[in-house]
Symmetry: C2
Subunit: 277 residues, 2 copies
DNA sequence: CTGTAAGAAATTGTCGACAATGAGCTATCA
DNA sequence: TGATAGCTCATTGTCGACAATTTCTTACAG
C-alpha cells in the first residue's frame, strides 16, 4: 500500500447548505488506494481529456473519498448526502452511488433513513463510548501482536508519521493532524498482520473522527505525538505489555479530552415514532 | 406463499454439492430478530393467503436467512449464490438481492467476484487464524464488561442456552449445537452492553461457522457445554479476570480442535491472475 | 482421444423510467 | 400572528430492459 495521498479537498458540508457545489469540489479531491476482489483499482478520478469520455470512478474510489472527507472533518456528522449531488460530484450513476451508500452505512459512516436519504452518521454518546471501548479492545490486541513481529522499516514509517503529525500540529493544521493520527493507528494495525482486526479498526478510526467532530472541544489538541513516540519506543523494545499499556492510556486520554454527552434532543423522531397516521 | 412450489424450478449449480436446494430450505428455515433504521421488522416470510399478493421479505429478513443457513452449516464455504435462484427462493427482485449481497460481502459472509457472481466466503487459513485472534480480543473485552454489569435474568438465559446446547450435542444435532453456541456468545455480548463490539462479534461468529465447516474434522465435538458453564459461573461471581481467562481458553480450545491449513490450491485464480488476454 | 476455437446460452452489470414518499410552500381560518 | 390543510416540488425506491461478460456446448483439427 502506497503512502496514501489523501489530499482531499472536499468542502465543508453543513446540514443547512445542501447545495451540490461542495460535493462537486469533492470530485477532484483525494485519491487513495483500495482493493476489491478481482477488480484492478484504477487511479480514482480519471481526469478526462477535453472532449473525451471518462470512466466513472470505482466504488472503492468513491468510498475512499467520502471516508477521507469524514476523516479530515470536511464532512460533519449529520450532514445530508443527496444522491443527485453525489452523482454529479463523482460523475457516476445513481445506482453506483446507492451501492456505495449501502456500504458506508454498513461501516457505520452514514445512516440511511428510508425515504429520507443518507446522512453522515452522528454517533450518540453511548455509541461514542462503545467505539472507544472497542478501540481499546482491538488496539490492545494489535499492539501485543505488533510488538512481536514488527519490522524495522515499519517502525521507521511510524516514526516518520509521528514526526509529521507533530509538525502538522504545531503548524495548526488540524485536518492533517487528525488524518495522520488515524493513519498511525492503521499502519500499526497493518504491522500487526491481522487483516480482520485492521478492517474493524478502519471503521472505528473513521467513526472516531466523527465523534471528535461532534464532542470535541477545540482543546482537543493531542499530546498524540509524544504518546505515539512512547508507543513506538516500546514496540522497538518488543515490550508488548508496555506498549499495550501505553495504547490504553493513549486512547483513554483522547476520549477523556472529549465531552461525550448527548447534545440536542432530536425532535424529529417523535414525529415519526407514531405510525404513518 | 404456500408451501413454495418452487422446489424443482431452481437449477443446481457447480461447486460440488452446491445445489441451491439448501437455499430453498433456508427459505423456510430459521428466524431471527434484527433491526434497521426506520423499518418495522416483519416476520420474514409473509405466508400469503392463496391467491393473495405477498410483500417480499425485508432486506434484513433475507440477510438473516442466509446468515442462519451459514450458521447451521447448510451453506458451505465456496457455494455459489446465483441471483436468480435467490430471487425465486425469497420471492423478491434482483435489485433487492443484489443489495443484500453487497451487505453480506461487507460482513465477510460472501465474496463477490465481478462478473462471476456471489459465493459463500471461504476463509483462508490466515484469515481463519485472524478471526480467532479477533474473537479473543473482542470477547475478552466483552466478558470483562459483562462481569461487571450482567443481570440475573441474562445469566439464567445463558444457563438455559448452555443446557440446550449440551442437549443438542448429546442428541447429535450438530447444526443446532453450533447455532446455540453462537447464540451463547452473542447473548453474552448483548449483556456486556457494547453495541459496536456486538456487531463485530456477529460477523465473527458467522465466519467462525464457515471456518469450522472448512477446517473442522468431525471430532470437533465441543466441550463447549462445560466450558460455557464455567464461564457463566465466573460471571455470576462477577470475577471478570477469571471469566476472561476462561473465555480465552475456550476460544483457543475451539481453534485448536481445527486443522487450519490451506487445503487445495485454488486453480481458478491462476487463470484470472493474468489480464483479460 | 486431446486440445483448440467458435458459437450459444446463461448470468451479471448498468442505465433510465416511473412510482412512492417526504419536504416545502401558500392560502385559509381562528 | 400562529396553526393547519392542501398542493407542488424534490428526492428516494423499485422495476424492467438492455449491454457486457462469462460459461457451457459443439464442432473440428491434430
Amino acid at each position: 500500500m502506497q503512502p496514501r495521498k489523501i489530499e482531499a479537498s472536499i468542502a465543508v458540508y453543513c446540514a443547512k447548505l445542501t447545495g451540490s457545489e461542495e460535493l462537486l469540489k469533492a470530485a477532484r479531491g483525494a485519491t487513495a488506494g483500495r482493493e476489491q476482489d478481482g477488480d484492478v483499482m484504477d487511479d480514482g478520478m480519471t481526469s478526462a481529456a477535453p472532449g473525451e469520455l471518462r470512466r466513472p470512478p470505482s466504488d472503492g474510489a468513491i468510498f475512499d473519498r467520502i471516508v477521507a472527507a469524514v476523516l479530515e472533518q470536511k464532512l460533519a456528522g449529520g450532514a445530508k448526502l443527496p444522491e443527485a449531488a453525489l452523482c454529479e460530484a463523482f460523475d457516476c450513476s445513481r445506482s453506483q452511488i446507492r451501492r456505495v451508500l449501502v456500504v458506508l452505512a454498513e461501516r457505520g459512516v452514514v445512516a440511511l433513513h428510508p425515504n429520507r436519504g443518507a446522512f453522515v452518521a452522528k454517533p450518540s454518546a453511548d455509541e461514542a463510548r462503545d467505539v472507544f471501548e472497542a478501540r481499546r479492545a482491538i488496539e490492545r490486541s494489535i499492539v501485543l501482536a505488533a510488538a512481536g513481529r514488527i519490522e524495522a522499516d515499519a517502525l521507521s514509517e511510524l516514526r516518520a508519521n509521528a514526526r509529521a503529525g507533530g509538525g502538522a500540529e504545531t503548524a495548526g493544521d488540524r485536518s492533517e493532524s487528525i488524518r495522520l493520527s488515524g493513519e498511525f493507528h492503521l499502519r500499526l494495525a497493518e504491522a500487526a498482520g491481522n487483516a480482520v482486526l485492521t478492517r474493524f479498526l478502519e471503521d472505528l478510526v473513521t467513526r472516531t473522527s466523527l465523534i471528535i467532530g461532534l464532542y470535541g472541544s477545540r482543546a482537543v489538541r493531542s499530546c498524540s505525538e509524544s504518546e505515539h513516540d512512547a508507543l513506538i519506543d516500546a514496540l522497538a523494545r518488543r515490550d508488548g505489555p508496555a506498549a499495550a499499556a501505553l495504547m490504553e492510556h493513549h486512547l483513554k486520554h483522547v476520549e477523556s479530552a472529549l465531552d461525550i454527552r448527548d447534545a440536542e434532543q432530536p425532535p424529529a423522531d417523535v414525529r415519526r415514532l407514531f405510525g404513518p397516521g
